[in-house]
């Protein structure tokens, strides 16, 4: 990572920390949701963007994490931060177990299997034998935690900072994971499964583990989301949530860590913008936004930024007076180095 990227990240972090101090509580709440979705999208991106396994059912893992947090806080009085660990662990296991039989399925068929998971989730959560825990159709109400150590923050601001801290930890962890052997193995499996297998990559293990880790991320996001909204109900976690997540990573940028943040901003704010543009058919406007983004930036916002940076870098390298003629620029360059 070069110096320019580090500076960007530092500035972004500074802005993120300053945010709650300058905007209203309502906006802080919205941005907390953006951070939550960013973690969820990173999870999905690990699986779909980096590892090529399509999941149309990640809303289910989000739901499991949310309910885990809600039940632990409401029925067992577990402190909110501990529920994240529980939600993450549970989803890691569930994700891994789901990933195992899914190994046999490719592309469309995996999509269907995950789609089935996403669609069945509300029914499972409403199942009357589980009602004692899940609250059935009534859902579970939870209380927002107060800032610890008597910090001079209100609960909204505290939750924002807490979520930000969790997000940074998880993003760093993912970045570390992806830039080493594991990352290369995942991408190899995505791009050329058979070759990766031939090269000695244990594809079965990697694919299942990726499912698990991806579910873990989204589960932790679900737990944070539940704490932010203070309410969980089965029909909040329907198939449309899973589809929204998929849209988020494509718009944000597949196989990109900052893409998760762009995607989260998109899925949180664009529906609101669409609502303001047209009260009559807001989702049609949202659809048009989707089309626009995909046409202009087929590789997502992150992809577009990458292309833009590359173009700027190329222009800078070639110098201003050779902007239109790369060949000429090349010879000029080589003549420079030669002379």
């Amino acid at each position: 990572m070069n110096k320019r990227t580090l500076i960007f990240i530092a500035v972004a972090l500074l802005a993120a920390c300053a945010l709650p101090l300058v905007v209203s509580n309502y906006r802080v709440f919205q941005f907390t949701l953006v951070l939550v979705y960013a973690i969820a999208l990173l999870g999905l991106n690990l699986l779909t963007g980096y590892n090529g396994q399509i999941s149309l059912g990640h809303g289910a893992f989000y739901a499991i994490g949310a309910y885990c947090a809600a039940i632990l806080m409401d029925k067992f009085g577990v402190p909110y931060w501990a529920t994240l660990l529980a939600a993450g662990a549970l989803c890691l296991v569930v994700g891994f177990l789901f990933g195992l039989p899914a190994l046999r399925l490719e592309g469309l068929y995996l999509a269907l299997a995950t789609f089935a998971l996403g669609v069945s989730m509300p029914q499972l959560l409403k199942y009357h034998h589980l009602e004692k825990w899940t609250g059935g159709v009534q859902g579970v109400v939870i209380v927002k935690p107060n800032p610890p150590f008597g910090l001079p923050l209100n609960p909204d601001q505290w939750l924002y900072y807490f979520t930000l801290a969790v997000m940074i930890v998880m993003f760093v962890f993912a970045w570390n994971l992806l830039r080493g052997r594991v990352g290369r193995a995942l991408i190899a499996i995505r791009d050329h499964h058979t070759a990766a297998e031939a090269m000695g990559v244990n594809t079965a293990l990697y694919k299942s583990l990726t499912f698990g880790v991806s579910a873990m991320y989204t589960g932790i996001a679900g737990a944070l989301g539940a704490i932010a909204i203070q309410f969980v109900a089965p029909d909040s976690f329907n198939i449309f949530l899973s589809i929204t997540f998929l849209v988020g990573i494509v718009i944000g940028g597949l196989a990109s860590i900052p893409g998760a943040i762009y995607g989260a901003l998109f899925i949180q704010f664009v529906p609101n913008i669409a609502d303001e543009i047209s009260k009559a058919a807001p989702w049609a406007i949202f659809g048009i936004f989707l089309l626009g983004f995909v046409y202009v930036m087929p590789f997502g916002v992150a992809g577009a930024i990458r292309l833009l940076m590359a173009r700027i870098a190329r222009k800078a390298k070639n110098g201003p007076h050779t902007a239109g003629a790369p060949m000429a620029g090349k010879t000029q360059d080589s003549s420079h180095t030669a002379g």
Binding site: K126, Q138, G139, D235
Partner: protein, 400 residues
């Protein structure tokens, strides 16, 4: 002579102090000399989008009120947001209304899940969650949630009434129930079972369906196969129409109790087939604007004129538009009663002080009553039976 001044001054001073006319105007955020900001959350998209027309009809009514001069000289500024029937979105919109738009109160938020999600927040923030658009029983809890109030007769009461009717008229009935697998369906079922009391074993089959199911044919076949001769139909309009039609087509002719939510001839019975709907029993608390019996009723004529002028796109066969008109009138009454004291506390107080308030839209004999311990405005209903052309009232007004 000096002595007479003092008592006069005292009397005048006392009169001034006691006179409410000269009392201070009191405003909470959202209220001012010029306007009253009213917030609303409705499902304009998503699975419950059919009910979005309620939010629109309410908006149309407020426009009429504004055209007629407003409430006590103040215009109503109506801000309505879409939550897509999703609780997280409802929470977001509630926060937007309260914290960003600074409305005086949130009126008629729709849907049990959405209202459940925002109930704690509204009460913590001490903002009225007034006349919620759901029949769930939990909104009548002034002790724990003093800022939340329902409006329509609750589902459990209605279910209870059907059960009582069955016990009285067909005590040996074998009952089959079809219910939507969510809060609304389960609430009705609970009231129904409570009404049966010790005789819940009269229910021989209980089947559920999801809103995402394409048809309920399989469930109807299951009920028919169970040998039930009485059917309690807890479904929303689309599924109610399918159930009524399938029962008839399969040759199953049970005593058929239909929940009030789907009793609209225009939205349900006509698609099902009027000839297939003969004998249906339901309850009603408002007049049915599509019913020919009320064709010349002043309230219905009023409403038709209102729709034509202020909501011409609205469907005249959709009872939701009549409902929206009626509930909006209730809010206007509460605001009128609040006078110049437009604090949230006073608005709740006025809402809890409606004594025998008669809405022209309500059936004769059915009045709105609220008190500090009774946050359920409508508690009585009338049993009705469909004769193939219209709903006919029978029996007396039941409930409280």
């Amino acid at each position: 002579m000096k002595r007479t001044f003092a008592p006069v001054t005292l009397i005048v001073a006392a009169a001034l102090a006691a006179s409410p006319v000269l009392a201070q105007k009191k405003y909470d955020p959202g209220a001012s000399d010029k306007e009253i900001k009213i917030g609303n959350i409705n499902p304009y998209s998503g699975p419950a989008s059919a009910y979005g027309t309620i939010g629109k009809s309410i908006g149309a009514y407020f426009k009429k009120i504004n055209d007629d001069g407003g409430v006590n000289g103040r215009k109503i500024n109506y801000i309505s947001y879409d939550d897509g029937y999703s609780p997280p979105k409802a929470v977001e919109m509630a926060r937007k209304l309260v914290e960003q738009d600074e409305v005086l109160l949130i009126f008629q938020p729709l849907g049990t899940p959405s209202n459940s999600a925002i109930q704690k927040y509204m009460n913590a923030k001490k903002v009225p969650q007034l006349f919620v658009a759901t029949g769930a029983t939990k909104w009548n809890d002034p002790k724990n949630f003093p800022w939340t109030m329902g409006w329509q007769p609750n589902y459990q009461t209605e279910g209870y009434i059907y059960a009582q009717h069955i016990l009285k008229n067909t005590p040996n009935a074998k009952i089959g129930v079809l219910y939507q697998n969510d809060d609304y369906g389960k609430d009705y079922l609970k009231g129904f079972k409570d009404g049966l009391g010790a005789k819940t074993n009269m229910i021989v089959k209980e089947v559920s369906y999801e809103v995402t199911d394409p048809t309920v044919d399989s469930q109807m076949v299951q009920l028919q196969s169970s040998g039930a001769d009485t059917f309690f139909n807890i479904t929303t309009p689309k599924f109610a129409a399918m159930a009524i039609r399938k029962a008839y087509d399969s040759g199953w002719k049970p005593a058929h109790y239909l929940n009030n939510v789907s009793a609209s001839p225009g939205s349900v019975l006509v698609p099902a087939g009027l000839d297939k709907s003969v004998g249906l029993i339901s309850t009603q608390y408002l007049k049915d604007p599509t019913d020919k019996a009320w064709a010349n009723d002043p309230a219905v004529l009023d409403w038709n004129a209102f729709m034509k002028k202020y909501y011409p796109d609205g469907n005249l066969a959709d009872a939701s538009n009549f409902y929206g008109w009626a509930v909006a009138q209730t809010l206007v009454q509460v605001l009128k009663q609040s006078g110049d004291n437009l604090t949230r506390e006073n608005v709740m107080k006025q809402a809890a002080s409606l004594k025998d308030f008669v809405l022209s839209a309500a059936l004769p004999g059915i009045k709105i009553n609220t008190s500090a311990t009774d946050f359920a405005p409508f508690e009585s209903v009338q049993l009705i039976r469909f004769d193939g052309k219209q709903w006919v009232r029978f029996g007396e007004v039941m409930g409280k």
